[in-house]
Symmetry: C2
Subunit: 389 residues, 2 copies
């Protein structure tokens, strides 16, 4: 298998944007090419577009050719969109990775975008009802906050996790995003503010939940040989894994342990030739504060049930065992579905190149991204390294 590296990337400002779906594509793509050292639009042979439901949010399907046209690139070897709800971005990166690793192409751009804020916010929430299984769950009223609230209650009962510990995840990630000018939320929040927030689905309060975000992110990947021509600091994909559990609520494989996450992580660690202890910096899927806590456990950063004390002891912060969500994560940076996985990769790309500015994790050599979809339905992991092995 050929080695593959990220060689460039760029982000559109995340937030509630007065910008169209197309504007966001353009902004992220321009940032990506502006940041690139020795890559131009004519080098792009493949274009993979990540987006969850532009058919509803933007009344537009067939978004890959539209994206390529907006960016001024003419893919001569591959073009398609990838969708996997909140994990679309990581799946799109994996698609480009496999296309390059297999030899079908040498250079690909991956761009993720979602325009989620509608003129009438209610319209956006209605579209979100297309995400859970319609026949089994959505028409019964299930939504993501409801599911993750149930998970949180069960984790609290089984392991003694507290609302304060949940809130600490939000405080940490909002603090990190104060140093990320492209984040949706750039003001710090206090423990009291999180705990005193409006209830969304008990025990989750407003700041335990990621927001509706408009945003886009783009990266360029290349084969090892081309990567070295394009930059002095390529960031290599060293491993990846993905697995699926049940989709509808009746088939969820685990509540406080996510077996598909463990399967995906084991595959990725094995492929990368590392263990969880080797990870210096990680962007993981904190769609709700409870999910980050369970992910500490199932990724192997701590033992099962100890996620609450892991955050409380500062082990996922700067100076801790692994810096988690230095970008601000989904809670701080924001969560435009199709863009999130690519924004995660961008943060790791910056960290492993020593270009993360005020957010830099000193000496970071190995980075991990974790992206989940739906009711913890499927989990996607990528592991990156400064070096090939």
């Amino acid at each position: 298998m050929r080695r593959v590296a990220i060689v460039a990337g760029g982000l559109a400002k995340f937030g509630v944007r007065q910008a169209s779906y197309r504007d966001l594509i353009s902004e992220a793509g321009k940032a990506c090419f502006d940041n690139a050292e020795n890559v131009s639009p004519k080098d792009i042979e493949g274009y993979i577009h990540s987006s969850t439901m532009p058919e509803r949010f933007a009344f537009q399907t067939h978004v890959a050719p539209m994206g390529a046209e907006t960016l001024g690139i003419k893919p001569s070897k591959m073009i398609q969109r990838v969708e996997n709800l909140c994990a679309s971005g990581s799946c799109a990166i994996r698609t480009a990775y496999m296309a390059i690793a297999s030899g079908v192409l040498d250079v690909a751009m991956v761009l993720g975008v979602e325009k989620m804020n509608m003129p009438d916010p209610i319209e956006g929430f209605l579209h979100m009802a297309a995400a859970p299984d319609r026949e089994w769950d959505s028409t019964q009223g299930l939504s993501a906050p409801g599911f993750f609230a149930l998970v949180a209650k069960k984790h609290m009962r089984e392991y003694g996790t507290t609302e304060e510990q949940l809130a600490m995840v939000s405080v940490k990630n909002h603090d990190n995003s104060t140093r990320n000018p492209l984040a949706q939320f750039t003001k710090p929040v206090t423990l009291e503010q999180v705990l005193g927030g409006r209830p969304i689905a008990t025990p989750l309060k407003l700041l335990d939940c990621s927001a509706m975000t408009d945003g886009a992110a783009a990266i360029i990947l290349a084969s090892e040989e081309r990567a070295r021509e394009m930059t002095n600091k390529p960031v290599y994909i060293r491993g990846t894994g993905q697995a699926a559990g049940g989709n509808n609520l009746a088939n969820v494989l685990g509540w406080t342990t996510w077996p598909a996450l463990k399967t995906a992580a084991e595959s990725a660690y094995k492929m990368a030739g590392i263990t969880s202890a080797d990870v210096d910096v990680a962007e993981i899927h904190d769609c709700f504060s409870i999910s980050e806590i369970i992910e500490y456990e199932d990724l192997g950063f701590c033992e099962k049930g100890e996620g609450g004390s892991f955050i409380a002891a500062g082990k996922s912060g700067y100076g801790g065992e692994v810096v988690v969500n230095s970008s601000g994560g989904l809670l701080g940076r924001g969560h435009p579905f199709g863009a999130t996985g690519i924004a995660q990769a961008l943060e790791i790309f910056a960290q492993l190149r020593d270009e993360a500015g005020d957010r830099q994790v000193p000496g970071a050599k190995i980075g991990l991204t974790h992206n989940l979809s739906g009711m913890s339905t499927e989990h996607t992991i990528l592991i990156y390294g400064r070096d090939q092995k």
Copy 2:
């Protein structure tokens, strides 16, 4: 690069179906496993779901995990949806191909589905307006019949192609689908019926246009080693190519010649080590009768401008130079967007295994599929062989 083969496949009946999106998935998946020789659901490591706009037609996104769950498979290495409008199916096959060729997985199922007929047909047509570029074209009233009618008029003027020749494509493909019990249209049509049909967009009449179709199709792909364990008659992917032109109407690269099709075909022929003359049987994208005529030319089956006389001389029928759309094609078999590319592969799979029954092309050894999207925006080619080379 590892070699990849199709080892099994199955189709749900195409047509106006009293069946849900989920029912169609189930029907195609069951047919696929029922037809398989030595493959079971537990062998499936990866699941690639192809669908164009279930967000609108079925109010459902995140369709890949829903599909896997419906089929009773638990992908442990890969799961995602691929979208590229009418070419989604071929892009999904390519994704599985690259995943297996790169070594990420050994066995994948690819399933395509679309539920396009709504209780109120007008609703279905409204959803279709999400396909062209919304800002530039769709809001100006552009639709696929309008575009392909302009193409037909220009081809008629430039090359003397006649309405009778367009109609002959429809007559041939409807004749072929009389021998395909799973096709949407199983009755023959006469030249007089096509020519006397209701005008849709002059010069295209009703039977020059593919219909709104509900349907699904599934195939299983495996690495060469696993493929040989699973069947005595694997059908190998020998080559593939894809390229994109402009998306919105102002940027269309060519009207009566499609440069992206030529680029994609050249890549695929080169990779397969063949020329167009080696193709015995081809499933090509006859969304409208004119498109099949242009594809004869740009695939190299005949010279530019001679597509009309190629069909008139019977060169694309049984006993001709290359049997085109033995399944009935999009005009006869039907065109459920996300399923079409996979149904094309299934027909080639049957032909190269001598299992096409009354539609069998004697001694077919090399098959080709061509799948386009949008306003001839991008073109995807796959070439299959009984043998590896």
